[in-house]
């Protein structure tokens, strides 16, 4: 079965540093998402992306966050200046459209 691939699996960074989390969605999918899960809390929606632009974003997705699909295959999430509270598991997902999302295995971000 096709998979969503995320790299790295674990990223450690210093507070204030920029990080880029990378995702390769399933090749024929059209909709792309980032979710995050802070330890012990629910999985939260960050942003959705369609047709090369953000289609929806949550309150969490402030000016420190950005997404990009630079080359037609990768889908990246950038955090410009990380904060301690950005430590979380970040999940990328993609879909053809509609209901069934395919999730990657996540990137655990630790901000020190």
């Amino acid at each position: 079965e096709p998979e969503v691939t995320q790299t790295p699996s674990h990223q450690v960074t210093q507070m204030g540093q920029e990080v880029i989390l990378r995702c390769v969605p399933i090749s024929n999918h059209l909709y792309f998402y980032w979710y995050r899960q802070i330890l012990g809390q629910k999985v939260e929606f960050l942003v959705s992306f369609y047709n090369n632009e953000i289609s929806e974003k949550s309150e969490i997705f402030d000016d420190q966050f950005s997404v990009e699909r630079p080359d037609g295959s990768n889908f990246t999430l950038k955090i410009r200046s990380t904060k301690l509270e950005d430590s979380a598991m970040y999940f990328c997902a993609s879909s053809l459209g509609g209901e069934k999302l395919f999730f990657g295995s996540g990137t655990q971000l630790s901000v020190l």
Binding site: Y31, Y33, K42, G98, E99, L101, F103, S105
Partner: protein
């Protein structure tokens, strides 16, 4: 406001025993309903979903879930748990139209003992 409640943070069952994981939701209209499973080091895998029709839906790995509109519930069940079922289980709801993102519950961690 849309929300999903999974009242059990952690459940431990014996291998071979039956399992029921609870999920209640609050949503403006009847949503689409999902159960996802996250095994250690893995992503979120879709177990099953309810869109319409028969309120008892079958999923992968022997799981089933029943939609009860009157109770706003979508509980997940399995008649006989295997040790490999130990994982985190998430209930989620989504809209019937548009691409509004899924709303997840906090998850229930399932431990299986011999």
């Amino acid at each position: 406001a849309q929300s999903v409640t999974q009242p059990d943070i952690h459940i431990t069952v014996s291998e071979g025993a039956s399992l029921e994981l609870r999920c209640n939701y609050s949503y403006g209209a009847t949503p689409y309903l999902f159960w996802y499973v996250q095994s250690p080091g893995q992503g979120l895998q879709l177990l099953l979903k309810y869109f319409s029709g028969d309120t008892l839906v079958q999923g992968i790995k022997g799981f089933e879930a029943e939609f009860k509109r009157s109770q706003s519930s979508f509980n997940l069940r399995k008649p006989s748990v295997h040790w490999s079922d130990a994982a985190e289980y998430f209930c989620a709801v989504g809209p019937r139209a548009g691409n509004t993102p899924l709303v997840f519950g906090k998850g229930t961690r399932l431990s299986v003992i011999a």
